[in-house]
């Protein structure tokens, strides 16, 4: 097979990068609109549903190895301190305790992703790790933590992002000259002349909008179980990226990558916070390597909430200018991001500002502030959720100022092309999404409906309907590899190095393979989540997994099918292209004659397995592939108590071909519920005097319960996007959370008749707005 190297472009969460792809062979042609598919596109229950609901699935916590030690951490109570002394003698003498690791005996453990000692001398936030106790049981480890004596030198700190950017502010990290993310901040994007645009505007709107720090709260906390056998370090990691874990752990321990095996079979959620091994995985690996015993270190819920990331808080200022007819003349967004102490990048809060509306004059200013708080991490469309919520509420305020229907204002400024990159979109179904959503929510009668209120016992209930738009990538890209094997019994195994983080990857890959191979779904097994297979697959994030892995699996299956038919052709003395595999049987294409099962032929080959490779090909050039969509929300607001109840959400998203309507819908539902939590209740509370998080638990950090979940009306557009990849499918992981908070906020503003100032829309905020 000739090998070629192709250069292509990849967009991940708003950032475009160049990527070299190795191709062996060719991808099969795209499944277009008229492709006749038997399994792809059909509602298919998860292939591992049974394990998941019966407790048979092994999550990271469930890995229990003989002789395994359990770890618990002692963390800094100070917002900013230096650790000057650790006395672990009392803890070490406690029952079951095997070791206590800290700065003065394990300072050599470097986190390669942060380029910093895990047990650093400078502790830049309350919750930074000081010591790790390894004991026979979790309780023993936790008890011993309390017996570790630590001396701290406390340092001045700052937790407010705007204060942190003042020149006289205390330094968040003492070796840095300022608290800006880095020397490139503030970062400005500019097109046209915003000030001129504001001057020529007939109507302008200025709005300040704040969004909270929100926790991922994955059901499975961060952590890992690690084992060192003298040659290989095996790590069962709660991760979205087993190859990233392999790389980082190898580097931290001074091993070769092939000496580290990373495994992730079942996942209890990651949402962007689990792209590497996390410090917990590094610690488990380090301790196992050093002590020669298996080690499990899973974060407690409290530690998860201070030390494992969150959606970073923002303060956004929008200025919009428009002519009387609604034509936008200027968009300006200034964002101060509260990034915590150990940030490495700035979330894409400006992505939609640059693109969503047609406007010649746009300026976005990103100010990244380090503060003495825990690190943030990518969280399901990081930045874009916050940016869209702020912008879409500002657009509604502009509509109010213009006396214009908010949807009409959006259509007036509809962007047909990618204005920043000056090229077309492969496809943009946003107009359709607006139309369908408006129809289903009853947009035309929303004011009349609202007037039928007040309702309720003492007449304080108000109703509102609002909407917001969604834009995101999700077309995936290389590199992504897969292997297909046809076994002697005629069943298939698909091997990839991806991981199923709970989205249904295993199921959709099985569907794609079964479709291409001509086998029934039950005859396909998907192996994933193990670096030992050596098949590089990308991290599961950025809504990329299906769009990257699916085509690789499809190509591998297509190649295997070709080879199998070649073999059968030889055995029956017929040309391979006269034969086909249908539902596991060999069929003569012309006559339709059934010639027995595929297995009956492969069985004759002394255990030979047909093996074929597939890889994700390059992305389309000179065109931008995006998912677009919109959500519409109906809410009730109780003016007496300030309570908001979301009654209904209509979701219309174009994610290309829908491979599995069931897993697609669960992504949409999950995204909406998570977005509703962000809109209504989720909020990290920090005591500014001490810099401590007050609600690092599930009791006081409220996430939606099932009773908070509204009626969710999902519209399946299901149209293949033939520019995207050979499936025509785009990711659906992030799109559904993007517009939810903005749609709810606009619905609340509609209900109470005044703009909202930020999220979450808790009763106290509503009552404040009503004052």
């Amino acid at each position: 097979m000739p090998v070629r190297i192709i250069t292509t472009h990849l967009e991940f969460e708003g950032r475009v990068s160049e990527q070299r792809v190795v191709m062996e062979g060719d991808e099969p042609p795209v499944w277009g609109e008229d492709a006749e598919l038997r399994i792809v596109g059909k509602p298919t229950p998860r292939v591992d549903g049974r394990e998941r609901v019966t407790g048979g699935a092994t999550y990271t916590y469930d890995i229990q190895l003989p002789g395994q030690l359990t770890a618990a951490a002692l963390r800094s109570p100070h917002a900013h301190a230096r650790v000057t002394r650790v006395d672990a003698s009392r803890a070490e003498a406690m029952p079951g305790v095997r070791a206590v690791l800290h700065r003065f005996n394990a300072g050599d453990l470097i986190d390669p992703n942060r380029d910093r000692s895990v047990f650093a001398e400078e502790l830049p936030y309350a919750g930074a790790i000081v010591a790790l106790v390894l004991a026979d049981t979790r309780e023993q480890a936790a008890d011993a933590c309390a017996a570790v004596m630590v001396e701290y030198e406390t340092l001045p700190f700052v937790v407010d992002p705007e204060a942190a950017l003042q020149p006289e502010a205390p330094r968040v990290l003492s070796d840095r000259p300022h608290n800006k993310l880095n020397d490139e901040y503030p970062q400005t994007y500019q097109r046209g002349d915003v000030d001129a645009g504001i001057r020529e505007a007939e109507v302008t709107v200025e709005a300040r909008f704040e969004t909270p720090a929100a926790m991922h709260n994955s059901m499975e906390t961060h952590g890992a179980t690690a084992q060192w056998d003298g040659r290989t370090l095996t790590i069962y990691s709660s991760t979205q990226d087993i190859f990233g874990v392999r790389r980082a752990v190898a580097k931290a321990l001074g091993l070769h990558q092939n000496q580290v095996r990373a495994i992730k079979q079942y996942m209890g959620g990651g949402f962007g916070s689990k792209f590497g091994p996390h410090e917990s995985g590094l610690l488990a690996a380090y301790a196992a390597h050093r002590l020669g015993r298996p080690v499990q270190y899973m974060l407690s819920r409290e530690d998860e909430n201070v030390a494992a990331g969150h959606r970073s808080a923002t303060i956004q200022h929008f200025r919009l200018g428009a002519q009387r007819d609604g034509t936008l003349t200027a968009i300006e967004q200034r964002t101060v991001g509260n990034l915590g102490a150990l940030a490495g990048w700035f979330p894409a809060t400006a992505m939609a500002t640059k693109e969503l509306y047609q406007c010649a004059n746009v300026r976005t200013i990103d100010e990244g502030a380090r503060t003495n708080l825990g690190p943030f991490a990518a969280f399901r469309a990081p930045g874009v959720v916050e940016g869209i919520a702020a912008m879409e509420t500002a657009v509604d305020q502009l509509a109010a100022a213009l006396g214009m229907d908010p949807l009409e204002l959006r259509l007036k400024n509809y962007a047909e092309r990618h204005q920043d990159m000056q090229r077309p979109y492969a496809r943009k179904l946003l107009r359709e999404a607006y139309e369908i959503g408006a129809e289903r929510i009853g947009w035309a009668t929303r004011d009349a409906e609202a007037r039928r209120y007040p309702k309720g016992r003492d007449g304080t209930l108000r109703r509102g309907v609002g909407m917001a738009s969604q834009l995101w990538g999700g077309d995936g890209g290389p590199p992504a590899q897969a292997q297909a094997k046809l076994l002697p019994d005629g069943t298939a195994v698909i091997i990839t190095g991806t991981q199923d983080i709970g989205t249904g990857t295993r199921t959709v890959l099985a569907q794609i393979a079964a479709e291409e191979l001509g086998l029934p779904l039950e005859a396909v097994r998907v192996e994933l989540g193990d670096t030992e297979f050596g098949l590089y697959s990308p991290p599961s994030g950025g809504s990329m997994t299906l769009a990257s892995m699916g085509p690789a699996v499809r190509m591998a299956a297509a190649e295997a099918r070709k080879d199998a038919l070649e073999i059968v052709g030889h055995l029956v003395e017929a040309p391979a292209d006269a034969l086909d595999i249908r539902d596991g049987g060999i069929v003569n294409r012309e006559t339709g004659r059934e010639m027995g099962t595929l297995g009956s032929y492969l069985e004759q080959l002394d255990g030979h397995e047909v093996t074929a490779k597939g890889m994700r090909g390059p992305n389309a050039e000179n065109v931008t592939v995006r998912t677009f969509g919109a959500q519409f929300a109906e809410v009730e607001v109780d003016l007496g108590t300030g309570q908001v109840r979301v009654r209904r959400i209509v979701a219309v998203h174009d994610c290309g071909r829908i491979v599995n309507p069931l897993t697609f819908s669960s992504q949409i539902e999950g995204g909406i519920i998570q977005g509703l939590g962000f809109a209504l209740m989720e909020q990290r509370v920090v005591d500014q005097r001490f810099g401590t998080v007050m609600n690092a638990n599930l009791e006081q950090f409220h996430i939606p319960t099932i009773r908070d979940v509204p009626e969710i009306d999902i519209v399946l557009l299901d149209r293949p996007n033939t520019y995207a990849n050979t499936l025509g499918a785009l990711g659906a992981g992030e799109p559904p959370i993007i517009p939810t908070p903005g749609a709810i906020a606009n619905a609340v503003a509609h209900a109470i008749g005044r703009p909202v100032s930020g999220l979450p829309l808790t009763p106290d905020r509503i009552l404040d707005l009503l004052k």
């Binding site: 007496g640 108590t641 939606p704 009763p763």
Partner: protein
């Protein structure tokens, strides 16, 4: 968690005896354990001896209406028992309402009625690693700190609120506790008096002598035609402590209020009875205007902290609603 001994008691009297063996502060009753265990795990309380009274269920887990209409609730009756009891639903629906939105189904299955009254505050400084006044320290960190969920009434150095849903309802129903003490003694005490704001000497929200065990909660027969309503305001639809709650119990004759009880939750260290409003209502017809006036009056002396001013209008709305609902004027 500190190591501790664990013994079982099969009656209130046995529990009293075992408690005495543990010494004045070192022993504690454990019932459902839903609060005590987490306090111990977080090292806020570290008793050396736990006296488990769940084995006394045969004697202490019951719900019984007396011939005169009084309800007797055994100390070990769970919130789920109360929630599911059809007689309570029919005769004292305010009690059903109180437990229906408390905690979660799992917790209600374990949480006992007596334990519910003796649960400690949810103040995050108290539950966290702050040596605050209530834990014996010098300072209340909430007073000038993150006090969104804190008190708007009361004069204790502690501004935490009482988290119980049951407590304000029992106060509104004039309920009494039966308390077993050393040497087979027993005393009764109105629930309202059982609660007292923490003071420098007694940094706790209720008053129980060492070695005492609550054995029963007795809800006296309510006047004929009495009706009540409990309104709980939460920041999500389930599994949340009350931001503000209101228990209103009214008896009316010929459309005129004869007797009124109004107790608020989530606003003070203890269930907050508002006698001034009870007086205002008595002898009047309950109209929406009167309910609004009562709500104004009830909040007259509120003194919110930096972040909880919203509780004032919220409590007003909840009071209006509870009074109108109790008077059967719900829409």
């Amino acid at each position: 968690m500190q190591p501790f001994d664990h013994v079982s008691a099969t009656s209130a009297a046995a529990a009293v005896e075992l408690l005495q063996q543990g010494g004045p502060s070192g022993a504690r009753v454990i019932a459902g354990g839903t609060d005590l265990i987490s306090l111990m795990r977080d090292r806020i309380q570290s008793p050396r001896l736990l006296v488990n009274i769940l084995p006394a269920a045969a004697a202490l887990r019951y719900l019984r209406f007396e011939a005169d209409g009084a309800l007797r609730v055994g100390a070990l009756a769970t919130l789920a028992d109360i929630e599911r009891d059809p007689h309570i639903a029919a005769r004292l629906p305010i009690l059903t309402q109180a437990v229906r939105d408390a905690a979660t189904p799992q917790l209600r299955a374990m949480a006992t009625a007596a334990g519910n009254l003796m649960q400690r505050p949810r103040c995050w400084y108290y539950r966290g690693e702050f040596p605050c006044w209530l834990k014996g320290g010098d300072e209340c960190f909430a007073r000038d700190g993150e006090n969104k969920y804190h008190a708007i009434f009361g004069a204790s150095p502690c501004v935490a609120v009482h988290p119980s849903d049951l407590a304000p309802v029992l106060v509104a129903l004039d309920a009494e506790l039966t308390i077993a003490g050393p040497g087979g003694s027993a005393r009764t005490l109105p629930v309202e008096r059982f609660f007292a704001p923490p003071t420098d000497d007694e940094r706790i929200e209720y008053r129980l002598q060492p070695g005492e065990v609550v054995s029963e909660i007795r809800v006296p027969a309510q006047p004929a035609g009495a009706r009540g309503a409990y309104v709980k305001v939460m920041d999500r639809q389930a599994w949340a402590f009350a931001l503000v709650s209101v228990a209103a119990q009214l008896s009316e004759r010929d459309g005129v209020v004869e007797r009124a009880r109004l107790a608020l939750g989530g606003v003070a260290n203890v269930p907050w009875r508002v006698a001034a409003v009870e007086d205002l209502l008595t002898g009047q017809r309950l109209t929406p205007a009167l309910a609004a006036q009562a709500a104004e009056r009830a909040l007259e002396n509120a003194h919110p902290l930096t972040h909880n001013g919203y509780k004032v209008p919220m409590a007003r709305a909840a009071i209006r609603r509870a009074l109108l609902a109790a008077a059967g004027q719900e829409e």
